[in-house]
């Protein structure tokens, strides 16, 4: 998780280095959301951060969500993550030459109490054209009676293009429920 503190200006104010670009709060269920026209910010920001609070309509304890960049659905992604589930602290999984970058497992409809899953994804050097894009995600949820999950992982897109769009979707084909929130922030560097 990036912790930008900003810079105290001579006047005593704070120079904003971390800026909200857009927030989407779903008014109805849908499978995916897309932040587009991000190339507009290539000269302004160095990194991006996405903050998610979401829940799936899937009749399960957990449902995985993933990310694609620049509408690329080819097998151009690798990812790996470690997670704890319930009382077991040591799961690992990975994906090689996949069509997406897995982010985290979010709560499904079998978990009650209006529980939404938080996650924070950092995309470092988002607009570089000399590096493949890499991300890291930290997230999870806790439920007393159901399955809890905490997850920390990294992923990469084997493409040096500057990011122009980010799509986040539910891998199972189910939907994000109404009220799910997705915010994207630009970070100067």
């Amino acid at each position: 998780m990036l912790i930008p503190f900003g810079t105290l200006a001579a006047s005593g104010g704070v120079v904003p280095d971390y800026e909200l670009i857009a927030t989407t709060v779903l008014g109805s269920a849908q499978n995916s959301i897309t932040f587009s026209d991000l190339g507009t910010y290539a000269s302004t920001y160095k990194h991006l951060q996405i903050r998610v609070v979401a829940r799936s309509s899937r009749a399960a304890w957990v449902d995985n969500i993933a990310m694609r960049l620049n509408s690329d659905s080819g097998t151009n992604y690798n990812w790996h993550r470690m997670w704890a589930e319930g009382g077991n602290p040591r799961y690992v999984e990975n994906g090689t030459n996949r069509n997406e970058m897995r982010m985290v497992g979010i709560s499904g409809s079998n978990i009650g109490n209006s529980l939404f899953t938080p996650a924070i994804t950092d995309i470092i050097d988002s607009f570089s054209t000399s590096k493949n894009t890499t991300i890291r995600t930290f997230g999870g949820h806790a439920e007393i009676t159901g399955t809890s999950e905490i997850s920390f992982g990294g992923a990469g897109w084997r493409n040096t293009s500057s990011i122009s769009s980010i799509t986040i979707f539910v891998e199972s084909g189910n939907n994000f429920v109404s009220g799910s929130r997705f915010s994207i922030y630009g970070i100067k560097g």
Binding site: G86, G87, P89, A119, A142
Partner: protein, 163 residues
């Protein structure tokens, strides 16, 4: 149009030991809260307890994963506060870093979710996620050692992230 965000709301820097610190009257005009603590105990060993709105009931189910010099650990816990697993054992010169994200803290239609990263240089790194059972907006956040006091020089910085 980009909006400046990540607004510092308040900072507490201890000039002398304190049994607890608290941020109150938190405005509801932000999306998320971030509490960055750089803190140590005066002595001894203690768990750290983060609480919302003074709630000390068993309303903080969480799951954690910890890596330390003794190996990997983790599990589900339901306690009376958000707590990094295990105890800190910091002398007054050894400070730990605790970064607590409270998501959608001002909404009243969701139970509040949080993400916590804890780093204690001498012992372990821990990640914790969980929720607070309350649907009220978070109006106060406190950080308290389960026993003992925060050491002089401990700092606690609260930020609001703009909606």
């Amino acid at each position: 149009m980009p909006t400046p965000t990540y607004i510092p709301l308040a900072t507490i820097t201890l000039g002398s030991p304190a049994a607890s610190v608290s941020f109150g009257s938190i405005p509801t005009s932000y999306r998320d809260l971030v509490l960055i603590s750089h803190a140590a105990l005066t002595s001894g060993t203690s768990a750290i307890l983060f609480r919302f709105n003074g709630d000390s009931g068993s309303n903080y189910p969480s799951i954690y994963q910890e890596a330390s010099e003794v190996g990997l650990a983790g599990g589900n816990i339901n306690t009376t506060a958000i707590r990094p697993s295990g105890n800190i054992n910091e002398a007054s010169t050894e400070f730990g870093i605790y970064a607590l994200n409270i998501m959608d803290y001002s909404t009243t239609d969701k139970r509040k979710s949080f993400l916590l990263r804890s780093n204690r240089a001498l012992y372990s790194t821990i990640m914790t996620v969980g929720r607070w059972n309350g649907t009220s907006a978070v109006s106060s956040v406190s950080a308290t050692p389960n026993s003992g006091s925060w050491a002089t020089g401990s700092t606690f910085n609260l930020y609001g992230i703009v909606s």
